[in-house]
Symmetry: C2
Subunit: 301 residues, 2 copies
């Protein structure tokens, strides 16, 4: 059974499943300008850890739900994540030429097409969510809860808000709270969405949903602190981007405020408290979900 | 009663209603970076004909449905329209400094914020749609039909696809069919959405939905042909942008292929056929909807 797999095998299996589904996620019969379709698929299939969809599937499994019916929503969150990377990399934003060792979307397809394929992926994510209802007959009310969560957690009060604060913060953050606002919204919110959507799909009770939210918030922030640390001390090849790129851009990171040791301690505390929330809420099969939290703080890229 | 108002009074009344709702459409209690909120509202409240939400409300009225419960969806389509204008105006796209006589979003807030506020408005549109279910208790299945239609008609196979084809077409269109593809997707699709959403909200039968779709397709294309004509012969002050701006950009328009007279004839034919579809499908109160179709071809801005 799945609990006998190592975490590495589990992750590999899920990545394979998700990438196979992403490959089919834009209907072939749709009449879409060829370059737009190519540009969307270029970034959607450009690799990455697929952490958000994996967390969603693990949340469904923790509740003994149907992972099959979660697939369209798992694809949706990866579309949102991908669009956010395409737009973040634009010259007017972070102006990055490479992402995961590959040329960024606008370096291949031009800025205008990169803007449009980001817009298209963002819009298509909502189409994909609806397919959980259309194809797998997930109750309409649950799917609307998911649409609403996605629109909030990926939108102005969520991920986009975090990105806007990050941009403005480049003129200088002075308080740790400002950085936590950015990390929470830029990173945690979409992780919270992934876990809550898993909960909605598998019919979680309110206590379980609340635990998934807390777990997501905590591991999201931990993930981002780890990112900040790796960017200072990590191995360039493993990361696929130049180490200290944040420092070079004079970006304020978590270790900047409290140092590396206290950052690591904070990260571990967040993960432990997140896991405790899951344990207290009584999930039937939470082992894998808890293991994923540990994986996040132990990863080296 | 409403049928006794002139079309001008009807439009003014609806614009007032829609703008009052748009003003309240982003919850005040949400913690959103102030500049992002400002930038979103700047473009959302920058005027315009509000044609898409008005068509939606007129479709609801034609079926004797509740216009109140349609308000969140009417706001949503205006958010989508607004985001598309913000992104279209960007330097990497059409590079416009003015829109409706006001500075474009990126001229006021910078490119990065303009990209983000477009993303935020696009995402928030889906939140707004869900409120038809949450606040006005429109059945969940109908609201999911609307979410799905919006994600398709505003996305890669719809509006964004039209925009991508338009951009690529700037290197030279050679056939009228290519221009019709662009006009259909860039303009008609969102009008089709507006009318179909009105139908879904008011419980239209399949024949009525099909008629709304045909009507929307036809008046959308007519609207765009009229736009092309006005851009050649219209009055600069009324349009709020320099006349012949398309020509200066060497943009291929409908009159370019068939001349102004044949363009006008095509436009009138589209409107007549669209109206006929509505008449044949048997709507209880379609007078205003039919009148709006005429308004579209008679407008001078």
């Amino acid at each position: 059974m799945s609990t006998e797999m190592t975490i590495k095998q589990y992750l590999d299996q899920k990545v394979e499943l998700i990438e196979a589904e992403l490959l089919e996620s834009i209907p072939g019969i749709w009449n879409i300008p060829e370059t737009l379709r190519e540009s969307m698929m270029y970034s959607l299939m450009a690799g990455g850890k697929r952490l958000r969809p994996i967390l969603m599937l693990a949340a469904v499994e923790a509740l003994n739900g149907s992972t099959e019916s979660a697939i369209p929503v798992a694809c949706a969150v990866e579309m949102i994540h991908t669009y956010s990377l395409i737009h973040d990399d634009l010259p007017a934003m972070d102006d990055d030429d490479y992402r995961r060792g590959k040329l960024t979307n606008h370096k291949v397809y031009g800025e205008a097409m990169a803007i449009l394929s980001g817009d298209a992926l963002l819009t298509h994510a909502f189409y994909s969510v609806v397919q959980a209802y259309r194809i797998y007959e997930v109750p309409a009310e649950r799917v609307l809860d998911i649409v609403e969560d996605l629109s909030r957690l990926a939108g102005a009060p969520g991920m986009v808000g975090g990105q806007a604060a990050d941009m403005q913060g480049e003129q200088g953050l002075t308080r740790l709270e400002e950085l936590e606002y950015i990390h929470t919204h830029k990173t945690s919110d979409l992780i919270v969405f992934s876990l809550k959507a898993g909960g909605h799909l598998a019919g979680a009770n309110p206590k379980q949903l609340q635990a998934l939210e807390k777990f997501g918030y905590n591991i999201g922030l931990a993930f981002q602190i780890q990112d900040d640390i790796l960017d200072l001390i990590g191995d360039e090849k493993k990361l696929g981007k130049p180490v200290k790129s944040d420092e070079k851009q004079q970006k304020v990171t978590y270790p900047y405020f409290v140092g590396i040791e206290a950052s690591q301690a904070k990260m571990n505390e967040l993960v432990e408290q997140g896991k405790q929330a899951i344990i207290n809420a009584g999930f039937p099969y939470s082992a894998r979900l808890l293991e994923l939290a540990d994986f996040i703080v132990q990863r080296d890229r």
